[in-house]
């Protein structure tokens, strides 16, 4: 069992039950998702009932219980982005990848997530792909962007 990583996390956050969200945020950062066995451990160490841990993990958008894809595409669905046409290209990209928001493509390449507002409203519609902001997005531009990332990882896997 890899409890070592968890112990390291708990050393910085402390073991008070009020630190649960902070601990889960660190776990999410370390593992890229919240693995079940780690959550069971968290429950024991922080002395928080297991159902509470499970509830918190399901309630907040920052947490996922399934492993996420290689590339994370975050589409801002804020009001400003909405009136400038964000829903159009969200549907388009979901169709292109064949998934729903929050899901990961079968090949584990892309995870598409929506966010309520990134606070970059003046530049909308905005998407974030692997931490990089793309402003004034359109359905066509996004399609090309995804294709570019697809090709890039294809090439890389061929090299290997």
């Amino acid at each position: 069992m890899h409890t070592e990583k968890l112990d390291n996390i708990l050393e910085t956050t402390g073991k008070s039950s009020s630190e649960l969200i902070e601990v889960l945020q660190e776990v999410q950062k370390t593992y890229n998702y919240l693995p079940e066995d780690i959550l069971r451990n968290v429950s024991e160490k922080l002395e928080v009932p297991l159902i509470e841990v499970f509830r918190v993990a399901n309630f907040y958008k920052a947490f996922t219980l399934k492993p996420r894809g290689e590339h994370i595409l975050t589409v801002c669905m804020g009001t400003a982005c909405h009136v400038r046409g964000a829903p159009k290209f969200l549907d388009e990209v979901l169709g292109q990848l064949g998934i729903k928001p929050g899901e990961t493509t079968e090949d584990g390449e892309f995870t598409v997530e929506t966010v309520n507002c990134l606070g970059a409203c003046a530049l909308g519609p905005v998407v974030v792909l692997d931490g990089k902001y793309y402003d004034h997005m359109t359905a066509g531009k996004l399609r090309v962007l995804i294709q570019k990332y697809r090709n890039k990882s294809c090439k890389e896997s061929k090299k290997q």
Partner: protein, 230 residues
């Protein structure tokens, strides 16, 4: 020694121990306020909102649930104003459309005056009253299940959807569920969304409520003729 406070509910003076909820105080005096998620001796969550009342303070009225409201000296409560009755009826209508199979909920809807359900049926088997969740946590200290997710995704679940070893299998969660009190015999099929009439609480009989009262524990204190006649 309990300290007592006096308050007014629907114009009647009511004397009740401190720390009581307005709902319990009303019920103990036979003043009928409908409720679903409330259970005696279990902490209230104010989720079903059926027991809403108006609290009048400094000439202003505020709507809140009577189950979560603690009695105060001199409090003025109006439980059956037109505004409250209308909202309550609409909530009951929503509930019965969520789970038309539940006899308990049909009963509540009838007593709140629902005669027609304008929303399409959803045939769910849970209305998230949280009776199971609280009885497990509070009576048995087990915390084997809880509300998971949010918005329309919210549901009652076990941790990681597996029964934990500390569940005592007491079955209380099932016993207190409004869906399991003499449930309707068959789930409704698509396209056949009407009350089947196999249980007595069918909507067409709303006028004859006295004969159809099922005396379910949930119904205690509802605004039904039977209670008035007693």
């Amino acid at each position: 020694m309990n300290e007592y406070v006096t308050l007014t509910i629907n114009g009647s003076k009511v004397k009740t121990p401190q720390g009581t909820s307005v709902l319990d105080a009303a019920l103990s005096y036979g003043i009928c306020i409908p409720h679903l998620c409330h259970m005696p001796g279990i902490s209230p969550i104010g989720a079903c909102r059926l027991c809403i009342v108006e609290v009048v303070k400094n000439g202003k009225s505020k709507v809140t649930t009577s189950c979560t409201l603690e009695v105060e000296e001199g409090m003025v409560i109006l439980a059956h104003t037109e505004r409250i009755l209308k909202a309550r009826k609409n909530i009951a209508e929503m509930l019965v459309a969520e789970a038309p199979n539940s006899r308990a909920i049909q009963d509540i809807a009838l007593r709140c005056g629902v005669k027609e359900v304008r929303y399409p049926f959803r045939n769910k088997d849970c209305v998230l009253c949280g009776r199971c969740v609280r009885i497990c946590a509070e009576t048995w200290q087990s915390k084997s299940l809880g509300f998971v997710g949010r918005g329309s995704e919210r549901h009652v679940a076990l941790p990681f959807d597996k029964r934990p070893e500390f569940c005592k299998q007491c079955n209380d969660c099932i016993n207190v569920c409004p869906m399991t009190i003499t449930p309707c015999p068959g789930p409704m099929k698509k396209g056949e969304e009407f009350f089947c009439g196999l249980c007595e609480s069918q909507l067409s009989m709303a006028e004859n409520i006295v004969d159809t009262c099922v005396d379910c524990r949930l119904g205690e204190g509802f605004n039904c003729l039977r209670a008035k006649n007693k």
